[in-house]
């Protein structure tokens, strides 16, 4: 499906130059209501990753991009609109099968735990819909951020074999390398790093063997990054995205002790509708130890109703303009 450039340009009437601080979408954005209805009507409650009509999906992605644009986001995402199992969707794309239903961290969200039947099932987990959207947006030179996950879905799956993890992680990293052909920003969403260090060493050593041509982000949320892990993340990633809502004190201590190369501060609460009044203060406090390059919500926005998600990002944009 080809979208006429003039139509796409209408969605992004103002392309702003870089601000002192940029507003970034963390990862997910709530699905448009009509898209939810479409999915329901089509009976696509499960296994939709590759079966949504491309034109419909593109329309939903562009709508979500437009929302992010109008509320002033500088670096948007595609909203992860077909990720039925949250971060575990990556493992399912990589050949894992969806298994039993369990709670997604401490949220009222449930996902099917990815289970690997046999190693031979593993394949590169392609973000086809993201790449296809980037093709549409290419003439505008408006970068999107790709989101992927490696440790999390595996950590939460039934499989615990480190050799299998290496095979899986390499496939994910191959996809990351490919994603850099489409975007300068690829983010690993890894909340589980705040809870467990399982496979972390393997993951980081595998990273070293790849030479990526863009900004590799790491986002850890729901908590602060454990102190031992933090410097390793700073060494391995270009941008470290920290949760300054639910892990403010711990993460502040991290940046105070170890600094940061490029910091994305998650300062708007992505899990509560309450408006955030302390954001400016937080940026000023963090900036005493490390320059804040990007601001965002601490988590993806699918935990919020759409109206509140929009409001949160709009507030962040106002803060950016005031800084």
């Amino acid at each position: 499906m080809i979208f006429p450039l003039h139509q796409v340009k209408l969605l992004f009437p103002r392309y702003k130059k870089k601000h002192f601080v940029e507003v970034v979408s963390a990862s997910s954005y709530p699905r448009p209501e009509w898209f939810r209805k479409y999915l329901r009507k089509a009976g696509l409650q499960k296994d939709i990753e590759y079966s949504v009509d491309d034109r419909i999906l593109k329309k939903a992605q562009l709508e979500v991009l437009e929302k992010q644009n109008t509320c002033g986001v500088d670096i948007s995402t595609d909203g992860l609109l077909t990720w039925h199992d949250f971060l575990a969707s990556i493992a399912i794309r990589a050949g894992f099968k969806p298994g039993k239903l369990v709670r997604y961290f401490e949220n009222n969200l449930y996902y099917r735990v990815p289970e690997l039947k046999k190693v031979e099932d593993l394949k590169k987990p392609e973000l086809k819909e993201f790449k296809s959207l980037c093709e549409v947006l290419k003439p505008l030179k408006k970068p999107l951020k790709a989101v992927i996950s490696c440790v999390t879905p595996f950590y939460l799956s039934s499989c615990r074999d480190v050799k299998v993890f290496r095979i899986f992680a390499e496939l994910v990293l191959e996809e990351v390398a490919d994603l850099f052909n489409y975007t300068p920003h690829v983010q690993f969403d890894e909340p589980s790093l705040a809870y467990s260090n399982e496979f972390v060493e393997e993951f980081l050593s595998l990273l070293e063997s790849f030479n990526f041509k863009g900004n590799l982000w790491i986002s850890v949320y729901f908590k602060e990054v454990p102190e031992k892990l933090y410097p390793l993340l700073v060494d391995s990633f270009d941008v470290v995205f920290l949760d300054f809502v639910e892990g403010f004190e711990g993460n502040l201590k991290n940046v105070e002790q170890y600094g940061c190369s490029k910091l994305c501060a998650g300062i708007a609460d992505g899990r509560n509708t309450k408006l955030d009044f302390e954001m400016r203060n937080k940026v000023e406090i963090i900036s005493e130890f490390c320059k804040v390059e990007y601001v965002s919500s601490n988590t993806g926005l699918e935990f919020l109703p759409e109206s509140k998600a929009y409001e949160k990002m709009k507030t962040l944009s106002k803060l950016r303009d005031a800084l």
Binding site: R40, D85, V102, N108, Y110, K274, S307
Partner: protein, 308 residues
């Protein structure tokens, strides 16, 4: 052993086409239909299928002062719910479930249970804009639920089930206090329903909660979690979820029979309440009915064998 349900049951399809002016009458008819389904299937302790409720959180939030609803958020897959937000002090407005219960008593002679979404889950599944801490909100809500439970018991309810699917090992003490507040002054049979949780993290402490019965989901995880109960010498009454409510496959009588046998390795038959994993509302009605029927059939056979 007894057969029961967790709470919700698929609503008759025609209910959504009824105009608003006829809604009350239609809901009552729908309750009659749902109760009949359960009776025909052979369920001994039944519910009204939660036909009155649109959803287990917002139904309560809409009837308690202090909540608003901004919009829907995702629960899983492509399933969404209207997530409430606490924006003011929570206050008891008027009876929440009393009308439902009184009507149910009129339409069946069988024993019934009243499922109530617990204070912890209601807070966990809401945004909190007002209270300084989760605990504060949970305890305020537990007081409101206590008021409601007292009215239900006064009206004749003798089986109260608190639904706490959001229970979390980190907050077990909060849940424990909330249950105590909710059931303060209550002397009827009580159960706590938990599902899709990591039981390994909840045991053994969860056995200390002051309820008569723990009702747990087992079928979705192929009954592996029964091992945990064995490990900790489970000593409460057990609500044994043996029907997968997330699968349209109808479990055979034989399959359920074998599952119950496993449960009997953990508790005595007199302490066993056989039921589905969770509410049945997401299933097509005919499938929900067939699942219940097979479940009751399996219990009948196993009871007959044991007695023989």
């Amino acid at each position: 052993m007894k057969t029961t349900v967790v709470g919700s049951y698929p609503k008759p399809k025609w209910l959504k086409y009824v105009p608003e002016k006829d809604k009350l009458e239609a809901i009552k008819d729908a309750v009659r239909a749902v109760v009949k389904d359960q009776e025909v299937a052979g369920v001994e302790i039944l519910s009204d299928g939660e036909v009155w409720r649109d959803e287990m959180t917002s139904y309560f939030a809409n009837r308690i002062d202090g909540f608003v609803i901004y919009g829907e958020v995702r629960v899983w897959g492509n399933t969404y719910y209207p997530k409430p937000a606490i924006v003011d002090e929570l206050r008891y407005r008027k009876p929440i479930l009393l009308q439902e219960f009184e009507f149910l008593k009129k339409v069946t002679d069988r024993k019934v249970k009243v499922p109530i979404t617990g204070a912890y889950t209601l807070v966990e599944w809401s945004f909190n804009e007002y209270y300084n801490s989760k605990e504060e909100a949970v305890y305020a809500l537990a007081e409101i639920l206590n008021e409601e439970v007292k009215r239900l018991v006064k009206a004749g309810a003798d089986f109260i089930q608190i639904d706490e699917p959001a229970i979390n090992s980190k907050d077990l003490e909060v849940v424990e206090n909330a249950i105590e507040i909710t059931l303060k002054g209550i002397k009827v049979y009580t159960a706590l329903h938990i599902c899709y949780n990591d039981y390994r993290k909840l045991f053994p402490e969860v056995m200390d909660l002051k309820v008569n019965q723990l009702d747990l989901e087992f079928a979705n995880r192929k009954f592996e979690d029964l091992e945990i109960l064995k490990e900790y010498s489970f000593d409460k009454d057990l609500g044994f979820g043996c029907i997968d409510v997330h699968s349209k496959r109808v479990e055979s009588v034989e399959e359920i029979f074998k599952a119950i046998e496993k449960a009997l390795e953990v508790v005595d038959s007199r302490k066993l309440y056989v039921d589905p994993d969770c509410g049945l509302k997401l299933l097509p009605r005919n499938i929900a009915f067939r699942k219940l029927k097979n479940m009751c059939e399996a219990v009948k056979i196993i009871t007959f064998i044991n007695e023989a």
